[in-house]
Symmetry: D2
Subunit: 366 residues, 4 copies
Amino acid sequence: MVASEPTPGEAAELEAMYATMSRENMVPLWTQIDELMPMVPSPAAVPHVWRWDTILPLAARAGDLVPVGRGGERRAIALANPGLGGLPYATPTLWAAVQYLGGLETAPEHRHSQSAFRFVVEGEGVWTVVNGDPVRMSRGDFLPQPGWNFHGHHNDTDAPMAWIDGLDIPFVRGMDAGFFEFGTERVTDEATPDISRSERLWCHPGLRPLSRLEDTPATPIGAYRWEYTDRALSEQLALEDEGYPATVGQGHAAVRYANPTTGGDVIPTIRAEFHRLRPGVATRTTREVGSSVYQVFEGQGAFVLNGERTTVTKGDMIVVPSWAAASIEAETQFDLFTFGDQPIFERLHLNRTFIEGQTTTKDQHQ
Amino acid sequence: MVASEPTPGEAAELEAMYATMSRENMVPLWTQIDELMPMVPSPAAVPHVWRWDTILPLAARAGDLVPVGRGGERRAIALANPGLGGLPYATPTLWAAVQYLGGLETAPEHRHSQSAFRFVVEGEGVWTVVNGDPVRMSRGDFLPQPGWNFHGHHNDTDAPMAWIDGLDIPFVRGMDAGFFEFGTERVTDEATPDISRSERLWCHPGLRPLSRLEDTPATPIGAYRWEYTDRALSEQLALEDEGYPATVGQGHAAVRYANPTTGGDVIPTIRAEFHRLRPGVATRTTREVGSSVYQVFEGQGAFVLNGERTTVTKGDMIVVPSWAAASIEAETQFDLFTFGDQPIFERLHLNRTFIEGQTTTKDQHQ
Amino acid sequence: MVASEPTPGEAAELEAMYATMSRENMVPLWTQIDELMPMVPSPAAVPHVWRWDTILPLAARAGDLVPVGRGGERRAIALANPGLGGLPYATPTLWAAVQYLGGLETAPEHRHSQSAFRFVVEGEGVWTVVNGDPVRMSRGDFLPQPGWNFHGHHNDTDAPMAWIDGLDIPFVRGMDAGFFEFGTERVTDEATPDISRSERLWCHPGLRPLSRLEDTPATPIGAYRWEYTDRALSEQLALEDEGYPATVGQGHAAVRYANPTTGGDVIPTIRAEFHRLRPGVATRTTREVGSSVYQVFEGQGAFVLNGERTTVTKGDMIVVPSWAAASIEAETQFDLFTFGDQPIFERLHLNRTFIEGQTTTKDQHQ
Amino acid sequence: MVASEPTPGEAAELEAMYATMSRENMVPLWTQIDELMPMVPSPAAVPHVWRWDTILPLAARAGDLVPVGRGGERRAIALANPGLGGLPYATPTLWAAVQYLGGLETAPEHRHSQSAFRFVVEGEGVWTVVNGDPVRMSRGDFLPQPGWNFHGHHNDTDAPMAWIDGLDIPFVRGMDAGFFEFGTERVTDEATPDISRSERLWCHPGLRPLSRLEDTPATPIGAYRWEYTDRALSEQLALEDEGYPATVGQGHAAVRYANPTTGGDVIPTIRAEFHRLRPGVATRTTREVGSSVYQVFEGQGAFVLNGERTTVTKGDMIVVPSWAAASIEAETQFDLFTFGDQPIFERLHLNRTFIEGQTTTKDQHQ
């Protein structure tokens, strides 16, 4: 950006000045602005797919070799985005991992300001205990564990179980906002009820307990059961068939997991949704500020990310970085769980979305 | 407030001045302040009980004598608070009525800025159609119809059906905020589905359709089914038995009907709740700003209002004016539907509650 | 709405039924619906103008004849809308009065849940003391006194002073939400500072005291000074002259008095604004839900209300009922203070506005 | 966390597994949890002080050697936190720089989703043009430039001027949320008015233009003038002297720059405040989630950061990382400008504060 080529004398003076700046812990903007302030988001994170038939055997192998317990806390293996230099981060904000608990094992209780959830693509037998409330984990269930709640897991059966964990660990680490406390070695309640107390209080549609009128930043529901999710999606498609507006796009049903005290996202930093596409349906190519992780729950299809098409199937996990051009194509009925960091951007008015073929972007600026 | 007795000359001058004021459409504060600004709310409305075995036969009699149709619009008979001079107002803000629809009759469609709901203490066979969505009405169901939605009712059976209507008619009339439009003579959809499209979209606990992310001032749910209400109350009492906090008071379960897009009240001007008391339980005597109407859904008990105790049973309707001292006593298990105008006061920061035996009032002022 | 003329026998049966209903405190909807639920708001209140040269002499007369003090509390004379049967209500929600305080007189302290403000069309010399903070009252000042703050007034001079009071007395009375407490006979602080402590804390544009980070339902500012209002209006017109968007309409500058903790209305139930029209400017004919009171501060013009044109000048007070068609025409530069009840309707989603010549209404329904 | 020492065979198996994981872009939690999820925030950023008499000459030197113009965009030199490996970041979220504009120079217009502000510790002569509105920059002024507004600067005098820039560049970069667009080479309006149009519209205390009723995520005010800030602080201390609560602590006046449309922070991601301490006053040692930058505006004092005390004087800049123990001591009257990222944490419910000597932390968790 220096208008003309400096003379050798000028160059020497410049170099001396830059050296002084460096020694004084100062850095010029003009040499770095392209990197610091690109025209559009240019993430280091890249689109990537992890295969369930790679993930699961590795988790099982760890189940053989690594004990679970205090210190390591969890037998969880994180997706490390290939663009992020080996850090255990799916994206700059999101942690996504598979967790594996052997028969009769217990993951000890702790709490942290990071928010977490579990999603179960297959299996059963583990109860996660959140602030003393045992919550059954079964296929298709979404189980949030908002920040600073004590929680542990225990396997009530002889068979191992695996599920995925999502957290805002990278975000909270980068922001220097994390607190952590150890709890008990064993879970505080080893009961194995079919439904948790949180569900018994909260999972009656449209009804709010009079004893719980204060809004909470995160959802008080401990489990969003597959039975309800599946039915909600089926009903949207049935309504579409009957000619009523119910889906987000033709052949595309979707629900967002919500905090019943506000109608907003389940967790202040994390959005979670479930999508179902009819066979043959493709979503419009979309770019949005914020990153997402998907897991295929059932069926087969493809992700087209920045122009590259990858076929995926049950259990496969896909990372979509910020502003990546993304489209999803369904070969069979295609059921997808997804989570992302969009609530952060919406709360800070930094969200922006671009849908190909539409003339305007939808964002806070315009 | 004139410090000393005026002389006859002064009295004449005063009288002349008051006459001038009156002619000029002006009124002094100092002669009226006690009435205008009492120390505590002193409603003209009084506590009162209407008996179901009076209400229902009168409604049936009207069914014989009065046709339903365009012009009169509804065969509804309102509770007229004895303190309100013959006005068809349960309280200064609330309309409460019984509506009666004979076999195969139709109440034509219309819409109005007043918000409404139905609650069914007994019977079935009628579908209410809200913006084209037919909603079955059955015992124990709460069916909101927020302002400016077209709605009509039709009886699909040979037998008559009665239910109660609640609206904010007195409030909207007093505030000069009412708009009204006629719709079709017949309901726009005569189908009789078991559940409405609104329920199929919205009644999956904690799940929000991605096609409906915009918050609405009133609930989008057309029916809050008894099955869910009953289960929610039973679970609260069961949790209490197991030693967990779930009820609003010992032996007192309660839910508030909520708008799932916000977690708040179903209607901006109306709160609606369902309470269940165990036999022998009595609530603490409470005064609150705002008025309420109760209907006994099942069981037997008593209301103690401003010190006067009245026994009530299934279908009886009870009005509690603003700031009346109120306590409820359960003889059997006692199930109560109730609605009130509290959201108005909360949104305007005029709410205040006094519970006997507590040292402080809970309100916005202190 | 009875389809055909009843036979004499039917008529007798109907009459007997209506008599029974009346005895049982019940009223049919079908005979009353037109009155209860009109097509558009049909207020009993009517547009009306009170002349300052009528109001002020009457107030002065009361100053001669009626002492001010505990019991009567205030020497205030209310505008009584001719349509409201002699009630001291400007509209169904708003109280508007002239208050008059003789030389060296004191209006004793009290507090009430009703919210109040003062506006000074002329004069000076009185301090109003709000929660112990003495606030000078001078021409053009707007002085809010939100609900439940102790307040009294004292005249520090030999000359009398008059001003207008606005309150939500009719609304709070109709809603049975009023509380009242007596305070001291004398004001708690007889100092006469030029600016109040509330102004010293809050009246620095865009700056919020770090000691006052909690939002309050009503404004913490005790006086909105004429100097600032006048300058704000002048700047809007100057910006318009320079070609920048600043006014609400060509030649029409306006400010809303705001709560600096939220940016919203000064009082939950009352909106207050100041408008300035250039000579020759006329506003578009507008209907809105909610009622307003205007006082001419300076200049001459006309109000056209439901088609009737009335010329008004300094001090004159004008009432505009809900949904009245209203237009304002400026003959000279025309300065107007106004207050209304619109925040109530906005918070309850009952607001609606219709501007003649525009094809759509702007409201919550459409 | 492996309970006992592995045998050589086990160690080999473990090593093989870790190698597989690495190849598959997966990373175990149990080997990294201490780093990822520390007990309390353990920032890489460190407390640090930059001296104005180092900063300013370096900026002047750059003024001699480096032209300002399209490409480099700005002659700004950033504080690079010594803990952040040479990145031009004051903290993980905040950019803090000195910007230098020579006589008659222009910094070209551009816009970006990053939010910015200027603060002027000394000098004058530059106008910053925000969306076409020229804003004078003078000593003590705080000048926000929220995201996506076009802006440029031009020096109307022969003398150079320096000021500090604050932005959320590191946050937006880390979050992959940045957009950038070039504007005109020259500023779009070279007028040099004493006050900007934004001030003429908005800087009348408590008054909101009726033409601007829509809330904006960031402040619409282009300049918060020193005259008002100084007076607000003086009044707080005077009120304290008179015995009224006005300061945040004994001898400690402070204001927060606010968005008048909401009462909240000026910018969604950045908080800005001005503090004045009387001589001899020391603040209580405090830790909070989130990082801050201070600049001494006037006077002399010390920062005690994680136990280390540094004396600072006019122009010096101090960085306080997240959760650092910080106290400020005033030797003379001590005037401090400060900005930080606290709004991010508050909006995401990740804020937490610990004040030494108080028994509880104030945060969302407890």
